[in-house]
Amino acid sequence: MTYRLAPIDTGAFAAERDDTGLTVVGSVVQRSDARGHVTGRTEFFEDVAPPRLAHLKMHRSARHHARIAGVDVTAALAVPGVLRVLTHADVPNNVYTVLKLIGVEPDDEPVLAVDKVRYLGEPVCAVIAETEAAALDGAAAVEVSYEDLPHVLDVEEALEEGAPLVNEYQGQNHFVYEGHHCRRIRFGDVEAAFARADHVFEWRYQSSPIEQAPVETTGCVVVPQADGRLRIHSDTQACFFTLDNTALILGTPFNRLRIVGGTVGGGFGGKVDVVVEPIACVAAMAVDRPVKFVYDRAEEMQVSSPRAAERIVIKDAVMDDGRVTGRKVTLYVDAGAYARHSPYGTTKAAAHLPGPYSIPNVWADCHCVFTNRTPSSAMRGFGVTIADFALESQMDRIARALGMDPLRLRLINAYRDGDVKAHRKIAEGTALVEVIQKAAELAGHDLPEDCRRMSSTTREGL
């Protein structure tokens, strides 16, 4: 078997290094944390074991959408080892939104449910106990009575007239962007392009929510320090979001909190929300002891926020020679019950349209929609990845319909330096043409001479 030990092809970069005098590009640099990992000495948050550690487990909503008629914690408090049961009344500023500090509004998500649950698995009561087993028993013993409400689980149904209102803090089932019902792009005249086109192709794409599924589940250990500060050992990917939001929720100055983080047992975007730390801090203050709150595997899979499901409809005006002259996109991001990072992800999707192509007429409506599903949030390239799946599937289908080489179709339409994008920015530093040419070469795909002569910096071959 022949294989390369390091993922870096030192050979491929050799010439570049010789020409430029670069000394780091193309050289193998050992990870600074690798020795800790292979000896088992890297300290993950759950490896911290302070004395008198108490454990927190959540009682979660058993409904997609319901009014809470009553919460009875008597049986939970009677479980041996249970120390406290927290409800929304114990959380100083119970309603928040994670991107508040960069100006996103409104606060739309309770730390613990108040009068209503909006998705299956939403936190209702937090049970603190001497042992994890007692906390689990306590959480199971909490009794919540519900009055069911009609729920909506589909983005287009959620936007229909008369759909059940998911999130009262938002006020309607879509996020409002500066007074508009969605993120929009208006560039040129797509309808005129469709009228003049040789072909009009319209297809629809749908993705599912995708769980990041890190091997280490989401969690934290909060330790009240002698100086009155709270030390938070967390596997968050976003130490400062955690610090800021937790302080706002607790109503304390930021310097009351200290985050120990940076060691993440896999995150992939799934550990960017601030969900476990605020309630663990409230718990640690309530019992004045260190508290651990860590998701079990089922919670990680069910309630940690996944990549949003998206529905994308693309309608293209295409000429016989392969030029795409108009592109109309209607895109729905399923945010689930709360905003989290989805308004931002939807903006990213809009910013990515119409893909890396020069299309003179573009129209897009990108909706960030609230449904009674698990809130979705960040995951590697969120907003862009699923849009790319749709855009590139669309390009392949067009090429097939025209009987054209799919690479040629992309080369004809690729951005060149100096092109005006749909967002009215001038494209610079474009490289799609060269990347396609190189990929074709590596894949042994023969490009005809005129395609090989194309360049991102000239209009050759167009």
Binding site: M1, Y3, L5, A6, P7, Q30, R31, D33, A34, R35, G36, H37, V38, T39, G40, R41, T42, E43, F44, E46, D47, A49, Q212, A213, P214, V215, E216, T217, V264, G265, G266, G267, F268, D296, R297
Partner: protein, 162 residues
Amino acid sequence: MPSQIVSLVVNGERREFIAAPGATLLACLRESLGLIAAKRGCAQGACGTCTVLVEGRPEASCLVPVETVAGASVRTLEGVTAGGELDEVQSAFIDCFATQCGFCTSGMIMVAEALLERNPDPSEDDVIEAVSGNVCRCTGYRPIVIAIMEAARRRRERAVPR
């Protein structure tokens, strides 16, 4: 059922501790003995990150009630590094970039140790078979398989008398 005193030979040393009824080997290693290399990823036998060697065999320690292995010899990643020197598997994991977040690494290395003990010259299929119960979400498995093949090669080379 009361708690009981359990004794194990861990990384060559006899250790005694009190275990609550039903306590798992993983919980005892981490909480009673302070050996934290083995991790809890699922607590249901699905991810392999809690793998340790019991009498030389890889076991998901989250599924092993500790009283069922009382008296057994147990090896964890801490025992692999005894003396502070990295062995061939550990150094190959570093050199081949087979560890990223590191959360699965302890389990992966223990599985590899058991394999190489049994079979010093494994085929790629043998390696894939050996790690098939261990989940890694970061590295894409390829570097892990390469690292274990490389470790086997280095260990065989070292065994050849010069």
